[in-house]
Amino acid sequence: MMRSMLILLACLFTGEAHAQSTAALIRTNGYLAPQFQAVYRPDARPVDQQRIGMSGSKAGLIFNGTVTPQWRFRVHSVVGGDTINALTVAEPVDVDNNGTTDAIYTKTKPALSNMVVESSITYAPHEVIQFNLGRMRIPFTSQAQSPDTDLMFPERAGPNATFIRGSDMGALVKSNFLEDRILASAGVFNGISTNLFDSQRRGVLYTGRLDINPLGSFGFSETSEWKGPFRLGLGSGIIHNPYTAFDNAGYPTVSVTDTRWTASSRIAYYGLYVVGEFLMRQQLDSMSSRPEWATGWYGQAGWHLPRGLEPMFRMGEATVDESFDPRRTRWIDAGMNFYPAPKAKRTDQVKLTLHYLVEERIDENETAQGMSARAQVMW
């Protein structure tokens, strides 16, 4: 599949472009990140109690194209990312041969749920403003703005994924003032990345984010090198998703407003990168009188030391369904990144990661532990 995808993309963005004499400057980069994982869940079903093996590996391919200085595009595809168990067989089973179905025999296979992480067009008429259109990650949280390859840990924090995950189709306008000191964005999206349960619904997701870096430009890479002066970043984001749910006959049943809010703070100083974020959600509807509240927070720190070592630690907690039956989950991550190729163009082009994670379901009295070893190579 990876090979066919590469061929397809190559045809789309290079072959066709040359054939029409409308060549675009395309810079191709990508990454490979094989990962070994061991997970231990002592309270799970026996089949799920231990899982050891290669899991969570990824291979990504990124095309950054420039048609003119104002018009650009970007395609980021990943293989081995999010998988779902797709139903492949479902057969009724009549155990006692009495003509009634006693059980359903099913078979599932892992399938890719979302291969394209980003495919967007950018129009930048002026250096302080640009417009993005297509599939992209909603810049709601601080971590949502970090590229996948520039994360400190292999995955984003658990609370971040509770409030938003994946990418979405939409349009975004980004502005940049005072040499990256003030970054603002606003946009509209379809709203498929907010983890709402599947139902027939119609609505538009509005989003806005403001980041202030008073001491100068401060990117969202979480693996800063042993350099640079002190940097401070403060940010806040909001998602507002009003929509109407419809019944099977196509008639409206209930109007819903789903609003999420976040505030973040970051500092960086000679390889030290610290970020903390607080998240909140409220969903109201026109029928139930049962609001859905959720809150979460996480804090993480890593220190990229001169010899290419980066010890890191992260802790976070999320509480969902606070308004009727709170369910809390706590995550504790610890690990070490090692950058063995300091002479590469970018220090983090080769990154080895050892990661230990504890996930504690507080109200359900269940704890899972896992560790992973990952090698990531970017080009």
């Binding site: 309270d43 079903r45 909001i238 749910a245 049943t253 909140m280 409220q282 026109s286 609001p291 269940e366």
Partner: protein, 433 residues
């Protein structure tokens, strides 16, 4: 806009105030008349048999009703509107059930999009997605013996991996002969038991379950049982953890308890039974309303039955970790707090219940969700469909949202072969008093 939204979301909102009703959702016409309008001498009228509704994590609503034939029917109101037509649990009556008792023992708990209930001899799962009812462990998977749940603890232990519940099961003959049952942990996902223990003492006879209850905060349930042993009649409260182990066995003193021969077909246990379910407070005091009007109260050290102050006890309500006995005094709703020693010393007027009933007076807008698309209609002064006042029930009230429970109201009725009544679900704010 961003500033306004940020301000809005910073303040959590959307909850109902005490005695304030949310949207009423009309789901069906049921045979029966609400208690407040029931004329016992009218042959066309039977009492509307309902228990307080329950909700799952996804927001689906479950209503349990017993029709005049004694069959249990479960209705499901989906989180985004609309109701199912009602599924029959297909249960059978437990042997030796008193003639005046209903088959409904109540809801046992919910998970993401499912609810479980105990009716007659059956543990039943109701799907919030489809509204379908399925009996759980209806027959022994190995011997295919028809199994009867003579007790089911109203607490579903839920973890990310599994959902389990503790119950007592027997074959038909053992249930009829009141022999010792098996205490099992039922895996509700697999529909089979994953652990079991024989009832001890194994030579006990004439075993009668008097009531069940739970303390979900401590992840434990309780079964109150009476049995004959060595020429004595013993009554015990067995506090059971989620793994199916008896954590505590506490002696209960009941005046009416005495050895009786249970071999005769029509023999009836001498002890009063718990009406509804036993509930608990944060101090570990369990209490239940007995069929003789007294209060059964106990903790790990034991307990007894005691008379209540001068009021008509009809229910229990747990709120903010405290347990209150509810009832009426001079036809007005009252509450009495269950103290640390199990006593109820004094009662206070329950103004929230009165206000909730008062809020139903006049023209009330109801969303008719029996068919799609739903349409708003008006009811003239509906009344509570359960109990004498809102919130008064011997069954636990659902924590629908913070300081909010779900309740059923009865609207217009019409005379068919028997009187039918329109019933709707409504969320309502609750407080003490």
């Amino acid at each position: 806009m961003l500033a306004a939204l940020t301000t809005t979301v910073g303040c959590k909102s959307g909850l109902l105030k005490a005695a304030e009703w949310g949207t009423f959702r009309y789901f069906g016409e049921l045979t029966g008349v609400p208690e407040v309008e029931w004329d016992e001498e009218n042959n066309n009228e039977v009492l509307l048999e309902l228990v307080p509704p329950i909700s799952d994590r996804q927001g689906n609503i479950y209503v349990l009703y017993e029709d005049p034939n004694g069959d249990s029917v479960a209705y499901v109101g989906t989180a985004r509107g609309g109701w199912t037509q009602g599924c029959q649990a297909e249960e059978k009556e437990l042997p030796h059930t008193p003639a005046e008792a209903t088959r409904i023992h109540g809801f046992l708990g919910t998970a993401d999009n499912r609810a479980w209930l105990w009716v007659g001899d059956a543990l039943v799962e109701v799907s919030g997605e489809t509204g379908q009812c399925n009996q759980v462990l209806d027959a022994d998977p190995l011997t295919v013996t028809d199994l009867k749940f003579i007790a089911a603890v109203p607490y579903v232990h839920e973890t990310p991996a599994r959902r389990t519940l503790v119950g007592w099961i027997q074959g038909v003959n053992d249930a009829y002969n009141r022999n010792p049952p098996f205490q099992v942990v039922v895996d509700l996902d697999l529909g089979r038991y994953v652990a079991y223990n024989e009832f001890q003492p194994s030579d006990a006879s004439c075993i009668d379950v008097l009531g069940v209850g739970a303390n979900p905060a401590d992840e434990e349930g309780v079964i109150v049982v009476a049995y004959n042993l060595d020429g004595e009649r013993k009554v015990e409260a067995r506090i059971i953890d989620s793994a199916g182990n008896n954590r505590v066995v506490a002696d209960i003193a009941l005046e009416e308890s005495e050895v009786y021969p249970c071999e005769a077909d029509d023999s009836v246990a001498p002890e009063p039974r718990v009406i509804g379910q036993i509930q608990s407070n944060d101090q570990g005091i369990y209490a239940g309303i007995l069929s003789n009007g007294e209060l059964l109260a106990f903790n790990e050290k034991g307990g007894d039955s005691r008379e209540l102050p001068d009021f008509n006890a009809q229910g229990l309500v747990r709120l903010d970790g405290e347990l209150w006995v509810s009832g009426t005094h001079e036809d007005r709703p009252v509450l009495g707090k269950v103290q640390a020693d199990g006593q109820v010393n004094e009662v206070v007027q329950w103004t929230t219940s009165e206000n909730a009933a008062r809020a139903l007076q006049g023209k009330i807008s109801v969303l008719d969700q029996r068919y799609q698309p739903a349409e708003p209609i008006a009811w003239r002064s509906p009344v509570t469909a359960m109990g004498s006042w809102p919130f008064i029930s011997p069954y636990p009230l659902d924590e629908y949202a913070l300081d909010t429970t779900g309740w059923l109201i009865a609207g217009p009725s019409f005379d068919s072969t028997m009187v039918q009544t329109a019933v709707a679900f409504g969320p309502v704010g609750i407080s003490i008093p």
